[in-house]
Amino acid sequence: MEFLSLTLLIFLPLVGALIIVGPWFPRNEVKIRRFAKGFGGIVFIYSLFFLAFFNPQEPGFQFNETVALPGGKPWLEPLGVNFSLGVDGISILLMVLTTFLVLLALIASKYSITKRHKFYYSMIFVLQTAILGVFAAKDLFLFIIFWELELIPMYFLISVWGTGRKEYSAMKFILYTFAGSVFMLAAILAIVYYNYLQTGILTFDLNTYTYMKAFAYPTVFGILTFLGFFIAFAVKLPVVPFHTWLPDAHVDAPTPVSMLLAGILLKVGGYGLIRMNLQILPEILKILAPLVIILGVINILYAAIIAIAQKDLKKLVAYSSISHMGIVLLGLGAMNVAGVSGAVFQMMAHGIISAGLFMVVGVIYLRTHTREIPELGGLGQNSPKIMYFSMIIALGSLGLPLLMGFAAETLAFYGAFTSQAFSGFNLFNIYVPVSIQVFTAIAIIGVIFTAVYILWMFQRVFWGNMFYKWKKFHDASPHEMVVLISLIAVIVFFGLYPEGMTSIFVPTLDSLMKLI
């Protein structure tokens, strides 16, 4: 048990990055890639140990660890910050998801990365450290540090190896996320100051802020802080008004990077919402539940409708992830264990499925060098393997039963429908009697639109008669097979046996919801 140290897990990829980037490492492409894949595998297996030794019943954070300065004093004593890490039901799963997807992305980057390999693989590992840090941080200050640390590697990954308007979208991504994190910073400082006023001790520790109700803060203060957090995570999730960076970033990023972007980076937003908005300010979430639910519903329908009209394959998949993330919002707004566990499950499911979708798009782009759907047609003819793998993944994203997406959507919809969050809400002093049940029913319409754009895309790309120019569309190569099969294995396994996943994070959510 003692060899499991979170700091080691988080900074292991950073060590890998330093090894690769050092001058002593050979510049030959194959050696770098093999080392990177090996290292990614080690990190993944190490994170699996954490999952194995994680005991879901034990409440609160596990594997707690605080790193002090050599002098024994906390890391930033004047700021009241100590380098403390901890993991609970939700973050352990997201960390394993991160290591899993990074490993797959490394395997999948064999074909799409052709220049500056050392730089690429080191940036991927730095990104992995940042994201693992975000999930394991038990200290608000650490949360911000890792949150903003992921900006730089992501910027380079999109702008150096991307295609099309790569620099524009990379810059847009950076500014969007940074602007969002600025609001979060203000909100964190506000609650830290409030705690400092009440208790006189200055601390950033998450546990002290879990359940701020004890301080009886004025609602207006709570609402402003809640909105501060919400905007930061809405940019990352993304929620509709702040989502325009996602299609650009996805379209212009290379395949493995957009796999990671969709697979993990969107989850940081969702995780933040749960950790900050739900855990720290539950009453305010109860007051603003209508806002969260309405944004979720808009997210689902608006993005689905746009996805239908998309001509570019990657943009379509990007909008589909925005639509799926709306379900996370819906589950969160439901304010009951079922809804929130649906949100967490949807984050996991969408992570795997959207990574799969981007892998498929990458496979197609690699062979046809085009992402315009009208130009693609009848690709399934002489590549049955790719067709069937992408069919399973597409159906997974559709929410087909016995695949991972279904259990997530069911939990979210059942939870949201049966929640007592609100039966009507105030819109500028007028009482609008539209209850959460009606909103969930409207959200379920999204299921139809998802089916429309996924199946229509599938039919236009894979079925129908073959274009002559795609004659040599050869079937999946071993690398691609490995990635696709492992993704499908996870989708089918947790689709058939969702208890495997829910048994880990539901107890955590139970204890969390008891607070509210």
Partner: protein, 521 residues
């Protein structure tokens, strides 16, 4: 004899500096053209000796010397260390840059050391006259430094502008001093603060304060006194520009801190004045920096923006604020010299200083561009670098100073977003733009001391990030002195005043709120 005693207890570093100034002056006149390089080593030893001498002195209490016109306390120690460190870095930068100065190389060091002497005196100046004299030694020698390369037309023009603007600003400051003297009939700061504590703040005092602020604003390049900075940074030789951006700014802040803590402790109207100055400065600095093509002008505007952030620390009038300022200045020293060293390396190699000339460096010169990127990210305030920690500590100080500063805090945060844009543009050029054909490869290797400076700065940027807390403790300058500022407890209002005047300030309910509880709307 009394003078010797004074030197021993308070003025040791200054006296060592004077000694070496005289030595360099004599050497530069006496020795011929070819042996001018030796003078660099003389001045280097002088400055390091002054720096080391401070370890021998005792800085526990307040030591007033020269008829109470100069005090030496912990505050002055920290700021003198920053100034001397900045001088050392500038010396290293000039070692190779000096080839372009023609025959009288030695004088440069002589002027540089006098400027640093002026800056050190300014930190501890306790009398209006001493403040004026120290400030003028610093300014006049930096005017001369700025115009040093007589052959280069731009440097002359910059020097002229610098001189005219500086003289006007110091004249305004003097005018302010005259009114302060008029009201209190005293020139010693302690006596004035004694008199002013009973004196009710009236409009003359405000005007006098503003005039004085003009002088100091000029030094730290705060808006509206910052117009000189871009032209001087672009025109002056690179080491001088670096020197101005760090050392003279630190001295400006030192005297501003002494004024605010000694002369006007805790006056509400002045904190509002400073807060407005801070906000205007940072916003103007960041906005104008957006469209910059020349790296040196960009660095000027970035230094203006950073002056705005640091000024904010002063505006909140708490010990925390001043500690945050000091720590910010320490990290600023490393960040800025790192970037200026990079600029100098490129200037020596290609002679150009446009941002586009940095294109394609990322591919070949891995370490150089990595170092420059780290310094730029630190200026932008991205985590892991010291810049983030100093900014965060400043934000925490502002947040803890009370709720009325929350809007100011939000504006500052938005400014950091704008700032990120123009720093990232440089990084983008380094890593993404293709390599231009003509670049003199071999020259990159000559500038050894400059590389040494850059290496130290990059190390400083990283280490200050990780080991920030011991340095922050060291830079807690104020709570040791007996000044009238409330030491580090929370301000008097326990409830957030701004937001709880009526329990639900927002009379209309938040846009989409469920009616079941909250403020009962």
């Amino acid at each position: 004899m009394e003078l010797l005693n004074d030197i021993k207890i308070a003025l040791l570093p200054e006296s060592i500096m004077v000694l070496f100034i005289i030595l360099t002056a004599v050497l530069s006149f006496a020795s011929g053209k070819d042996r001018q390089d030796a003078i660099f080593y003389v001045s280097l030893t002088g400055v390091t000796l002054a720096l080391l001498s401070m370890s021998v002195m005792d800085f526990s209490g307040e030591k007033e010397v020269l008829y109470k016109s100069f005090t030496s306390n912990y505050f002055t120690l920290v700021y003198r260390v920053i100034i001397l460190a900045g001088t050392i870095f500038t010396l290293f930068l000039t070692k190779d840059y000096v080839k372009g100065f023609g025959k009288n190389k030695g004088e440069f060091y002589f002027l540089l050391m006098t400027a640093s002497l002026g800056a050190m005196l300014l930190c501890g100046a306790n009398d209006l006259i001493m403040v004026f004299v120290a400030l003028e030694t610093l300014s006049i020698s930096s005017f001369a430094l700025c115009g040093y390369t007589k052959s280069d037309r731009l440097s002359n023009e910059a020097a002229l502008k610098y001189l005219v603007f500086g003289a006007a600003a110091s004249a305004a400051m003097l005018y302010g001093f005259s009114f302060i003297y008029g009201i209190t009939a005293r020139t010693n700061l302690q006596e004035i603060s004694g008199f002013l504590s009973t004196y009710e703040v009236n409009s003359i005092l405000i005007i006098a304060f503003l005039l004085v602020l003009a002088g100091f604003g000029f030094k730290i390049a705060a808006v509206p006194f910052q117009s000189w900075a871009p032209d001087v940074y672009e025109g002056a030789p690179i080491p001088v520009a670096a020197y101005l951006s760090v050392v003279s700014k630190t001295a400006g802040f030192a005297v501003l801190i002494r004024f605010m803590t000694v002369l006007f402790p805790g006056v509400a109207i002045f904190s509002i004045i400073l807060a407005t100055f801070a906000v205007i400065t940072m916003t103007a600095g960041n906005l104008t920096a957006l469209g910059q093509r020349n790296i040196r002008r960009l660095m000027a505007y970035s230094s203006i923006a950073h002056a705005g952030y640091i000024l904010l620390g002063l505006a909140i009038l708490t010990n925390d604020g001043i500690t945050a300022m000091t720590f910010y200045l320490i990290t600023y020293l490393f960040m800025n010299f790192g970037v200026w060293a990079a600029i100098e390396i490129l200037a020596l190699a290609t002679g150009k200083d446009n941002i586009d000339d940095f294109s394609g460096l990322g591919k070949k010169y891995g370490y150089f561009s990595l170092g420059l990127t780290l310094c730029l990210l630190s200026l932008a305030g991205i985590p892991v670098t010291a810049g983030f920690f100093s900014k965060f500590y400043l934000f925490k100080a502002v947040a803890v100073a009370g709720y009325e500063f929350m809007p100011v805090l939000v504006i500052t945060l938005v400014n950091t977003v704008i700032a990120l844009f123009y720093y990232m543009r440089i990084i983008r050029v380094i890593y993404l733009k293709p390599e231009p054909e003509i670049r003199h490869e071999r020259v990159f290797r000559i500038a050894l001391p400059v590389k040494f400076v850059m290496a130290i700065c990059v190390a400083g940027v990283l280490l200050l990030g990780i080991f920030a807390s011991p340095v922050i403790e060291k830079s807690g300058v104020i709570n040791t002195t007996s000044q009238g500022i409330a030491v580090n407890q929370p301000p008097v209002s326990s409830q957030p005043p701004l937001l709880t005047s009526s329990p639900c300030l927002l009379t209309s309910p938040p846009l989409l709120a469920s009616p079941n509880d909250g403020c009962g709307y």
